[in-house]
Amino acid sequence: MNTLLKLSWVFLKIGAFSFGGGIVIIPLVESDVVMKYGWLTKREFIDAVTLGQITPGPVVISATFIGYKVYGILGAIVSTVSVILPSFLMICLAAQAIKKFHGNKVLANFFRGARVAVIGMILEAGLSIGKSSLIDFKTIFIAGIALICLLKYKLNPIWMLLGAGIVGLVS
């Protein structure tokens, strides 16, 4: 029980302070999970992060793996819920608050600028993911086909991803 509480506390903390996405928090997790409590060895921890990147969903899903290693299925559930909870509550409260300030012109302008920045970062994400994954003729071909299918033929991207996965499996 004590371990479960500790596990929950560690991941609540991580969930509350992980600004800007997964990779940033990995040193934070390591210092608690490996150094302080010794739940995992260094090697196991690196594998956990790798698996977190392989599986769909955000990298914090590594919490599930770590939780499982520490306390079985129950540990996995506790740590996953804990790592999601802080941002879940904050985003809901923020969505609520935004509605109240809807008439506020200054805030509206803030969002107007920030929205555009998000688009810029989407394009940048496309570029940087492309740089690491477009490595040969085949992958460039897949990306090109995907772009045409989506922009011109409005194909459902879920099917497109499935297709690409199958190509990867076969080749």
Binding site: G15, A16, F19, G20, G21, G22, L51, I54, T55, G57, P58, I61, S62, T64, F65, Y68, A76, T80, P86, S87, F88, M90, I91, A94, A95, K105, V106, F110, R112, G113, R115, V116, A117, V118, I119, G120, M121, I122, L123, E124, L127, I129, G130, S132, K138, T139, I142, A143, A146, C149, L150, N156, P157, M160, L161, L162, G165, V167, G168, L169
Partner: protein, 255 residues
């Protein structure tokens, strides 16, 4: 005779008014119109033109105002909370949420904005802004925000849980395999091809959104700035979004 008709007309008008004062629905609106129409005809028959004109005017007025208001209300209700039942959509996206927050963002955008037209681009980008500003994985933030927009707290809980479920199950299986054999399965080639497809996906949505959202040189400037500063200077997301927001506050008119 004339007095009797007048009494009847008064009664009809009064009944219509009673119905009119209750919360309006399509059926009630129909009833009111029917009652007042009859009253109007009766007044007309006994030659009380001023009363008839009065009713005619309120009929026209009511028809205009109430029907517009009601249609809007009905549309809103139908569009968002009540009609949305495809929560399995989040499961599908949860299965394919490789490649970080932007991939999930683009998948959700495609389903909810482009296809089903349940949310607007603006709602969506606002969710992403909040996700960047607040702690926690941006992917989760966007999913939770979308769920909240669709059905308040229950929507947020449903969407978050359903979205995380595939990854959770997958991870548990991997952890079991790992604990038993101490190896990590080789799935890299699959993910290489998925990464390529995700690139196409992200670029297509970026272009589509940019076309819609950017209307003048100010927007274009902020876009270019955000793009280059995350590409070249590797600024933190929080910094980029925050500064872009401040720029928006300064550049756009207050009035």
């Amino acid at each position: 005779m004339e007095q009797e008709i007048r009494k009847q007309a008064d009664e009809l008008y009064r009944r219509g008014l009673l119905v009119f004062n209750q919360p309006i629905t399509r059926e009630r609106l129909k009833l009111v119109i029917e009652l007042w129409q009859k009253a109007f005809e009766l007044y007309h028959k006994i030659g009380d033109e001023s009363k008839a004109r009065e009713i005619e005017k309120s009929l026209v007025n009511m028809y205009k105002r109430k029907s517009i208001k009601m249609e809007k209300k009905e549309k809103q209700r139908n569009n968002v909370a009540i009609k949305f039942r495809d929560w399995d959509l989040f499961f599908k996206i949860g299965c394919f949420g490789f490649g970080g927050p932007m991939a999930v963002f683009t998948l959700l955008e495609n389903e909810l904005v482009s296809r089903k037209k349940i949310l607007t681009d603006k709602d969506f980008l606002e969710g992403a802004v909040l996700g960047d500003i607040l702690p926690g994985p941006v992917t989760m933030d966007i999913v939770t925000y979308t769920g909240y927009k669709l059905k308040k707290w229950s929507g947020a809980i449903i969407s978050t849980v359903i979205f995380i479920l595939p990854a959770f199950i997958f991870m548990i299986i991997l952890a079991m395999v790992y604990s038993k054999y101490n190896i990590t399965p080789k799935v890299e080639t699959i993910f290489k091809c998925l990464g390529a497809a995700v690139t196409g996906l992200i670029v297509s949505v970026g272009l589509k959104l940019g076309e819609k959202e950017i209307k003048d040189y100010r927007g274009a400037g902020i876009l270019v700035w955000a793009f280059t500063s995350s590409l070249i200077f590797k600024f933190d997301i929080l910094t980029i979004v925050g500064l872009a927001g401040l720029a928006g506050m300064l550049l756009y008119p207050r009035g």
